[in-house]
Symmetry: C5
């Protein structure tokens, strides 16, 4: 998540420079093609870039809206994980009779679940979760490809044990189990966003149409603006390209970059909240922004 309001233009150009080069080359080619091949035969009607502009506006708007929706849905899912984590801890700490050790073990295991899920979504190796799991859990989890789902399974087993030992009654059992079901939902929803590729035809057609637009636009304005049309063609193309690239940076909100959801920060916030609720003393620091610029 970007924190600063005044982005340096270089940050934008860093993301677009290879497209900028292609556009400048295309505009230059278009300029010379018109100058030496077309100019004496016919005029390119200006309605062509205008109509293409409409099509591109639809595409870029559509892509941006869907990308933002994915990003915001991802943020909502992790917001729900925050809320449910607190409710789980609150329930375990207050509703389990005379077995603080079990309550604490389940809450610790839940922190492990969050770190394992985060690592899986980020596609990163993150071993923090190990320190919150007892050795027998680690052994059991090793056999599973989906580690966070395996952890959830152990949680259910321990909940059943609490219930059988009469440390919680049926009403409290159903309440805590409900939280596990919700974590299962949030986990699956995160995986859905991560694994579902935004239809690539949309991004592909957008690229093709922007290119078509830039070329026909340069052809049209070179009739009055001369060589400056190469610069102007690129300028307008840059407006569209940077908008499109900016939107697409939100489409995979779990990527480990400055545009993504700050999973490190959120997970750490939950960790701190839960440890404070358990009245632990060894509490980690909140996640710090990088260069005061963004937080991961």
């Amino acid at each position: 998540m970007l924190l600063i309001q005044n982005i340096r233009l270089s940050r934008i150009l860093r993301n677009t420079w290879h497209v900028d080069l292609i556009m400048i080359a295309s505009c230059t080619a278009a300029y010379f093609v018109r100058e030496y091949l077309i100019a004496h035969h016919f005029e390119i009607p200006s309605i062509i870039p205008t109509v293409l502009g409409t099509a591109i506006a639809f595409f870029i708007g559509f892509n941006n809206n869907q990308a933002y929706d994915r990003w915001w849905e991802a943020r909502k899912i992790w917001g729900a994980i925050v809320n449910d984590s607190r409710s789980l801890a609150r329930a375990l700490i207050n509703y389990v009779d005379e077995d603080e050790a079990s309550a604490k073990r389940i809450i610790f295991r839940h922190i492990a679940f969050l770190y394992a899920l985060k690592a899986s979504l980020r596609g990163a190796v993150d071993e923090i979760y190990i320190k919150y799991l007892p050795p027998e859990d680690l052994l059991e989890i090793k056999k599973h490809t989906n580690k966070h789902n395996a952890i959830l399974n152990i949680q259910s087993r321990e909940l059943q044990k609490l219930s059988k030992e009469n440390k919680i009654d049926g009403f409290r059992f159903i309440e805590i189990n409900e939280m596990l079901v919700r974590f299962s939902d949030s986990m699956g929803m995160s995986e859905r966003i991560k694994n579902t590729i935004f239809p690539t035809t949309y991004t592909y057609l957008t690229k093709v149409f922007i290119w078509l637009f830039v070329v026909t636009f340069t052809l049209v304005i070179s009739q009055s603006a001369g060589p400056a049309s190469i610069f102007l063609g690129w300028l307008i193309g840059f407006v569209f390209v940077s908008t499109q690239i900016n939107g697409m940076s939100l489409v995979d909100p779990f990527k480990n970059n400055s545009a993504g959801i700050p999973l490190n920060q959120i997970t750490r916030t939950i960790e701190i909240n839960l440890l404070q609720m358990l009245e632990e003393t060894d509490i980690p620091e909140p996640v710090k922004p990088i260069n005061e610029e963004y937080v991961l």
Copy 2:
């Protein structure tokens, strides 16, 4: 689901070539009609294709938005099926007392339910589900037209049996039954999307208006661009047509093609998750992409 970012233009043209032919023929006709019939009488005002362009932009945008919504809703439904399947398995494995055989039988039957539902949505013959059902179930299901609904019915009966034998209490009964209700909901929601035809008047009017646009557009630009207007008319038409066809490829998300929801992959993922939770050893491979290009 398409995996690759750089679609070959041939893939687009393969979907549009018959429309391309119609457009080129229309543009050619329009060019000659203007050249020999209209040119000496009056000018086609350029406001006509401009206004038509607005109408088309609305139509194509509307169609694409609704198609994408259907596609994404379908994806969400099957995401919910993933989550609920895991929650069902977790509940059965951990909350059923001393009857692992029943728990396993219900989970196997659930995998059968998924394969039967998938086959029905795809309109394909898929007999995988047979191997997860005991013979008496197969016999019973044969009588029903809606096989997946019949399977769900057996699940309820077995759940009731578990409850009557005191292997689960009322709270756990309600929890597991809730999952069956959710599967019934997801099943019906999938059928709704599959069976509800997107209002055909929208796609029909879009076609008519694009054709009108291409013809009037060619009439207008041929006043300045000469024979090149045939090519330019087609080019602009192609932009609209490919956008429309691209959107419509999402409108039936359960079709067995590269734009659809990858039901094979999702069902297999659930199958693997559930078998691992049951600590089975004979676990199938994940579904592989076809030509590294798309996954079904």
Copy 3:
């Protein structure tokens, strides 16, 4: 629900011909007014139809979006009725102890509820529901204006009776009651869509503005296109009018026409599913499309 993809143009014209006549008359009048009254005094600026076009585009887009949303919401409501009907039947068949007769009676009464609700939404006389009700129910319902609500009331009474006779416990009672609450919700939601008139000012202003547009558009293009402007004015007007009329055909989705939700088909599907679950032998045929063109 329309089934065919290639609508005959006559179907569109049948819905628009009286508006077409008004438009042609207006365009003709506008043409002669300009020719003999305005031409020598001043020019109609072409910015007027352009700006009006923007306003109309907003209106038609808005109307279509809201109409489609009503239509799709209606479809979702009846999709939920399908799902809940199956869940109700599944619960009654499997969870009621030793009283198959009651279970069957409630399911039959539920089919009656659906037919009564459908008849009320369609504003049609439909007596099918009678055959699924015992005589004493018919007698009781007669006194009520809202027949489907009265049927639901009997369902609750019978559910209470099952509970008092200990044929279902509290958990199953709450589960089946939940389904009755959901039917009450779906019923009320359907009535809401049927009874809430889409704000008539929107459709009225759309008509006024399209008329204004067609007239000013003809005035403007007649400056260059001559008498052909009458035809062209109508053509553009037709594009807007057919779009608007097409959208408005979805605004009352429970109407008994080809654009509406196919309540006959959906109700019959539920009826078949429920009778098969009851292992009945006398099962009606699915609803057939009319002329292979649409299904009601």
Copy 4:
């Protein structure tokens, strides 16, 4: 809620006439300013009203969409109140053992709740609710500023009493209490819409920009259309103004006017349904439309 399709133009003009006067004055002023002050110095570029038109289109579209959403949400809330009222009555009539008097008293008190809530939302004095309350309730409610909330409080107390007297068990208690929670939600949601002013900057800026548009538009077209530009300027302004005013008429859906939600009609419908379910004989008439034109 307006019932008629053909609104008289006078109804629109009645809502806009003071704005119409301001616009005609502004257009006249603009015409003379250009004629005598600007005409000899420079030309007003026509791109100015075009760009302003885009900004206005966004504003009017935005305002209309949000206003319609508020209106439709309000309608949905009262639709939910209809459904929950029926479910409450159904539960009380069928699930309370041997205490018809209490059931009837709670249902009557619920009708009072609806009338009190309606009166509060409409900001109207409406004393109908008094006749459905026993004297001791009236005495208690007098002390509260929020009368409908106070009624809900009595409902909970009586529900608790029924439960303590063993006339309902825990499952039925939770079911009926759930309805009270839902009424509390619907009540609060209605108050939220009533009390939250739509950001006034939007309506203010819209007014300013429409005025700017009308003035610059008149300046531009007066270059070719002469004095007729005063009329044409007003005409285009009228299109925008009537659209905006029409949208804003939906923004406060609980107002007691023809565009609002017909709370009188809805409340009466619930009243009739509930009295019929109680098999009362003295049943009021449905609310009649006023002048066959609208219903309140």
Copy 5:
């Protein structure tokens, strides 16, 4: 929340004056650059500001829509807090047997929770919550960074105590606990909106593109409008800038300014409702608007 309909233009200008200065400087520079450097070489094609206008329209529309959605979601969350607070109080007052003191203590603590949450969202020091908490609670809360979460934790503990002392049964326990879970959700949702920065690239690119637009627009119109183009360039720029700034004022709805959600007013309303339900006599005044202009 602004209350007045007629905003003074000065209020708008106060928010935009530094941008206005930049725009006037840029327009002046653009005017002279064209006059002395470009005019003799080539013409700036007017299609450039037109295309830029489209891009800006998308951006401003997108930003406004997302900002309004955040604002309205924030309002809905606090509306839910109102509803759930009343339901909590209703449940505690009526469903707790013979322990009015506990019920009152929990309700008071809930008011403290609301004030603590409000202070945290506003980033303000607000010590009102102290007066609703017993000393031992204050001591316990001091140790936590997230004070409102700590209060919720105490609520759960006291609820468990009520349950253990048999003052509420399992059904009532689950009902009241459900409210605590909902407060946890609303709390987390508020924090999500407060802590998630709206992607800064959107606001940044909007600024850059508006500047580009104003400059190219001035370049284009100065060809016909002369020095007046400086004023006209600023005027059009002002339209875009004020729209953008207006939208962005909604993006952080918990800020303590006139555009934000009136948390003071809402919290006080809940406080009054709850104290009246408790039949307290010392009831604070509702929050008064400031200068009859806005309410915080």
